[in-house]
């Protein structure tokens, strides 16, 4: 993304051929100033919402078990009242497609909304920065502290910050693992220092949180994240992005309040650089849209606070569209363009998918059956002039009560199920049962014939039909 125009970012004199730019640069540490305002409030709201769900969910119970638990060892995935089997992976696929489409939709409407407000990278960075702010103070205090020698104050502030960071990280790692191991048992285990793998994963995810939110921060978004890159490919001129109104702002510069700045050829920008100071990715939004911008809107808050002080109208930096800024559209004109075909199509597909996923979860039969026909013995002739085929049925009980199932079969004249027809299967368990089917010898042509097994849960009426084949040999 090129800056459309404006001041060149960095002028490097090309005096000698040796003096070029390096492919690497020293990492510039960013000290974002804290700011309050409309978008900052939204960001905090999203922090609370996402983290309330993340930290809280594993502690909720459903009947006798954890409400949301992905038991990888037993291969059962419990979500509210649902018991999902690995065979239900399609739901995860559906969820991922919905997530992707949501990202497309949000990005088409308002750019990197996800990045700025809901992405864990952003959210944890925000939490960690808040801790930093509380302990070390705001931007200028932090700059001063980092520049100062290792005094007692610096040592205790830094170590206290690290301590709180580590505590939050460990708790985050613990919570994450708590989605896969019952969190209450996990807590007791960790207290007793048992379960080396659990400890490893808690430390692993804790370390990832600490490293990402404490140190890598915007580097993840700038250099690692693939979503950040493809989102900028989904922008169009009607996408809401953070914009600087160049026509109104330039010529920027300091001024005396009593003097008519317009007469001196100055624009509304007083060049206070507050918008740069609050930016968590360390860019100057006045250079135009840049690939680093995560669309968090903090510079909008910062600029508005300054405009208020100067008694200038708000919105020198604002959420607008490329077209909106270029053509000077007002809010309603811009919002009209939001309902363009692209957005409508994304919305329609998204709604359809959500409805489909929900409906299929609601009408889901809590019973699954796999039919595996014996492969080595194709068919056999048994006493009484019967032709017999053998099958193994895996019956999966996806309810949390023991169930009794009855197996029936149809599809050929004289077809009989001669083995046991009723089976009891424990809660959330699966079982293989052997089934024998017979037809009178010679009653059907040689070849492969479709047969259908119908498996019914006695009492609940859940019913599944599975197709298989019955082989009749030549001769």
């Amino acid at each position: 993304m090129n800056p459309p125009s404006g001041k060149p970012r960095k002028v490097i004199p090309i005096a000698s051929a040796d003096q070029g730019a390096s492919l690497y640069e020293a990492q510039k540490k960013i000290y974002p100033r804290s700011i309050s305002g409309f978008f900052a409030r939204w960001r905090w709201l999203m922090v609370f919402l996402t983290q309330l769900v993340f930290y809280g969910l594993p502690w909720l119970e459903w009947g006798q078990r954890q409400m949301v638990l992905f038991d990888l060892g037993a291969r059962r995935f419990y979500m509210f009242g649902l018991v999902l089997y690995p065979q239900d992976f399609i739901y995860l696929t559906g969820l991922l497609i919905i997530s992707a489409l949501s990202l497309f939709l949000f990005t088409a409407v308002a750019g990197r909304l996800w990045c700025g407000f809901a992405c864990p990278q952003t959210v944890y960075t925000e939490i960690f920065m808040w801790i930093e702010h509380k302990i070390e103070g705001d931007r200028s205090a932090r700059l001063r502290l980092d520049g100062s020698p290792w005094t007692f104050e610096k040592i205790w502030k830094k170590s206290f910050k690290q301590f709180v960071w580590v505590a939050v990280s460990v708790w985050t790692g613990f919570t994450f693992v708590g989605y896969f191991v019952p969190i209450r048992e996990l807590g007791a285990e960790l207290m007793a220092l048992q379960g080396s793998w659990q400890i490893f994963w808690v430390v692993f995810y804790g370390f990832a949180t600490y490293g990402n939110a404490g140190f890598l921060r915007e580097q993840v978004c700038k250099y690692m994240c693939p979503y950040a890159r493809f989102q900028s490919a989904m922008f169009d001129p009607d996408t809401l992005i953070v914009t600087y109104d160049e026509a109104r702002g330039e010529q920027r510069g300091p001024r005396v309040k009593t003097v008519d700045y317009k007469a001196k050829g100055l624009g509304d920008c007083i060049d206070c650089t507050l918008c740069v100071q609050v930016c968590p990715v360390g860019i100057d939004i006045r250079d135009g849209l840049q690939y680093e911008c995560i669309g968090c809107g903090l510079c909008v808050d910062a600029c508005n606070s300054v405009m208020d002080k100067m008694h200038y109208p708000r919105g020198l930096i604002r959420f607008s569209t490329q077209n909106g800024v270029a053509k000077g559209w007002n809010k309603s004109q811009i919002l009209q363009r939001v309902l363009r075909p692209r957005v409508l199509i994304y919305t329609a597909i998204l709604v359809a998918l959500c409805v489909a996923l929900l409906a299929s979860l609601l009408v889901r039969t809590p019973l699954k059956v796999d039919v595996v026909r014996d492969r080595a013995a194709l068919s056999r002739i048994v006493a009484g002039g019967k032709l017999e085929n053998i099958y193994r049925l895996q019956i999966m009980n996806a309810t949390e009560q023991a169930q009794r199932y009855r197996i029936g079969v149809q599809g050929l004249p004289g077809l009989e199920l001669v083995s046991e027809t009723e089976f009891e299967i424990d809660a959330a368990q699966s079982r293989w049962v052997v089934v024998r089917l017979q037809i009178p010898y010679g009653s059907t042509d040689a070849g492969s014939h479709a047969v259908h097994f119908a498996i019914e849960a006695l009492g609940t009426g859940a019913r599944v039909t599975e197709k298989s084949i019955f082989l009749v040999p030549r001769q």
Partner: protein
């Protein structure tokens, strides 16, 4: 195959691996030193598709150390683990060793489970639900391929759920069958029986033994010729478990029923093999499997205990 005659490929692969690592080091070194001419607008001057310019977005320099770390890791890994051609690595780790270790670990885990069954008689093991659950899984994994998931066999694969046994159905005999396997041999008997007509007659006599539909004239003509078969199957045709000769009077036809199947058997003979399981399964597993197979034809007996 060339591994056996020369170690060229081993050296080649090892050389290629090391060369690639050296190339990575070189690439890092060059990119770290390279200065690119960047225009005043912070682009590299590269333009594609008319107006796509490449901007200069330098990476954080400390990331280079992560690349260095991967190279150090690669060299350390190659020194410790197999990876450089046929060099086995300082730790002496191998897939086979890992496999054996895991098998040993698995065995150690299930040993106490099996230990309980070792002191029990097969009949008692057959009455143990846990042992039978293990037995069923062993059967499904090792026996069901031929004998069927329900153990009722198929043509040429004996039914294990009935009372008809070729080599005996006591737990001892079943255990013997599992350990050493069985080879059932029916020699071609046409010459000993006589003419083609004689063979047909004997076939009808054999069918008459079990009361199956047959031509009684042919059967009576075939009866004297049956002496050729009696050596193994006995004069009464009831077979001989010591030889593995089947009982011909019980209307159970392992290799097919009817005149055509029986004359083919007399003319061509048959060699049928049950492979030995002793090397594949452990003693403890064979013990449980013996009890499981025995229980298949002794349902009431097992349940009573």
């Amino acid at each position: 195959m060339s591994d056996f005659t020369s170690n060229f490929w081993s050296v080649y692969v090892a050389g290629l691996t090391l060369l690639s690592i050296i190339a990575c080091v070189l690439l890092l070194w060059i990119t770290a030193r390279k200065k690119i001419v960047s225009a005043s607008d912070n682009t590299t001057g590269h333009v594609w598709d008319e107006d796509l310019t490449e901007m200069n977005n330098p990476m954080p320099r400390w990331w280079v150390w992560m690349f260095v770390l991967t190279i150090v890791f690669a060299l350390g890994y190659l020194a410790l683990y197999p990876g450089l051609g046929t060099f086995a690595g300082k730790l002496g780790w191998s897939q086979l060793g890992e496999y054996k270790q895991e098998v040993a670990k698995g065995q150690a885990e299930i040993e106490p489970l099996y230990a309980r069954f070792a002191s029990m008689k097969p009949e008692q093991v057959a009455a143990d639900t846990q042992a039978m659950a293990i037995g069923e899984r062993l059967f499904m994994n090792n026996c069901a391929q031929c004998h069927g998931s329900d153990a009722r066999g198929s043509k040429s694969f004996p039914n294990l759920t009935d009372a008809d046994w070729l080599h005996g159905g006591t737990p001892e005999k079943i255990s013997e069958t599992l350990h050493t396997g069985r080879v059932g041999t029916m020699p071609p008997m046409a010459a000993a029986v006589g003419t083609a007509e004689d063979v047909r007659n004997v076939a009808h006599y054999v069918m008459s033994l079990s009361g199956s539909p047959h031509d009684s004239v042919r059967a009576s003509l075939g009866q004297p010729k049956f002496t050729a078969c009696a050596a193994c199957h006995g004069m009464d045709g009831k077979g001989n478990q010591a030889l593995g000769a089947p009982n011909l009077t019980d209307d159970i036809w392992l290799h097919g029923w009817g005149e055509a199947a029986i004359t083919a058997m007399i003319n061509n003979g048959k060699v049928n093999e049950m492979p030995a399981q002793a090397g594949k399964l452990t003693e403890a597993q064979l013990g449980v499997l013996t009890a499981y197979v025995w229980s298949l034809s002794n349902k009431s007996g097992a349940a009573a205990r």
